[in-house]
Symmetry: C2
């Protein structure tokens, strides 16, 4: 049995943040597929056993069950010593971008992609609103990256792994990522890390839902 079990599905960029970290750190881990599209995360059993917030990912390790990708990433830096901050100031900077990701970046990206790709709402006032917010957030990230290879400290950290979570879903995002040259370069730099793999290659996904 693997040391780490990740409750996840390939369609979740939040789960991918954790899966990518586990993979890049060469840890012994296995994905446990959660049937999100048939409501598994919304059942009382899932909520009482795994995560009262009704979300993936959940990481099982050493008798602990951890949820929220930011907490999982931070935990894995503590355990492995990899992709973490080198001092207290840098640690605050890493958390600052993880919070920005959760608040302004992933929050809108994940929701827009869900509506278009899975709920099949088509273009609506809500998708238009979310896309405008994503573009504002992308401008901030692109400006930040104009003179930096990675988000914090000149090297890859969990801030990158958090923020990149949804960006490799390509056309499913319906966002003009190509307009942001620094973001594109940075995505390529993350993709070039030894062990990198696409979310659909790291975690099981539901048949017929994704673009692959």
């Amino acid at each position: 049995m693997a040391d780490y079990r990740l409750y996840c599905m390939g369609e979740s960029g939040n789960a991918y943040k954790a899966a990518l970290m586990l993979e890049l750190c060469r840890l012994s881990w296995e994905p446990v597929w959660v049937d999100f599209f048939h409501g598994e995360t919304r059942t009382a059993e899932y909520r009482s056993t795994f995560n009262e917030m009704g979300e993936v990912p959940v990481l099982e390790h050493d008798g602990k069950k951890l949820s929220q990708s930011g907490v999982i990433l931070d935990y894995l830096t503590e355990v492995t010593g990899q992709f973490g901050a080198k001092d207290a100031d840098e640690r605050r900077e890493v958390w600052r971008w993880i919070l920005f990701d959760n608040h302004k970046f992933t929050a809108s990206l994940a929701t827009l992609r869900y509506l278009i790709q899975f709920a099949k709402t088509g273009e609506t006032p809500v998708t238009e609103f979310l896309r405008a917010r994503i573009i504002n957030a992308l401008k901030i990230v692109d400006h930040h990256l104009q003179d930096k290879p990675f988000i914090v400290g000149g090297r890859p950290t969990i801030a990158d792994l958090s923020m990149v979570g949804y960006l490799h879903y390509g056309d499913e995002l319906t966002v003009p990522l190509g307009d942001f040259a620094n973001v594109s370069r940075w995505m390529d730099a993350v993709k070039a890390l030894p062990g990198w793999a696409h979310p659909y290659d790291l975690m099981p996904s539901a048949p017929g839902k994704s673009s692959r």
Copy 2:
């Protein structure tokens, strides 16, 4: 001159999270009003001097400029020893709720309140969408609080101060908070903490914008 300067405005629940912490810890602090409604946070100068993310709050202390309310709250627990976690497991639990707040709770609450109260959009598909998301998040918080006085560890922590950030704006929220008995009881418990004050009493606000 005060030890801490908080760049803020009374209308911001995210700034309030930091202001409330400063006040509850009896720190020497002063608010510095940011003219959000005339675009101050979106200027190149604000972004290069204070916060490239174009947001309040920003906390100045000891030569540091910190942004993202979660980082500021965590920093203040380190400096004061107050409202923090007592061990590593509890610390992860505190961060888990701060992330939930940023991702699912404040993200929608702040946006809905902005659209209705300040942008004056009236009811639209976007406000309806956001309100439904808030109600889902409130159900999770209400269920969590059914057997707990506070979010983590049986006592007030920065998880409470983060999550309560927008809830005391009352009618400006256009959310049926009264339907959530455990949330209401918990809000009262936070309000009863010695030193508690309403956001509009802790920070300057723009004339004619708020409901007070």
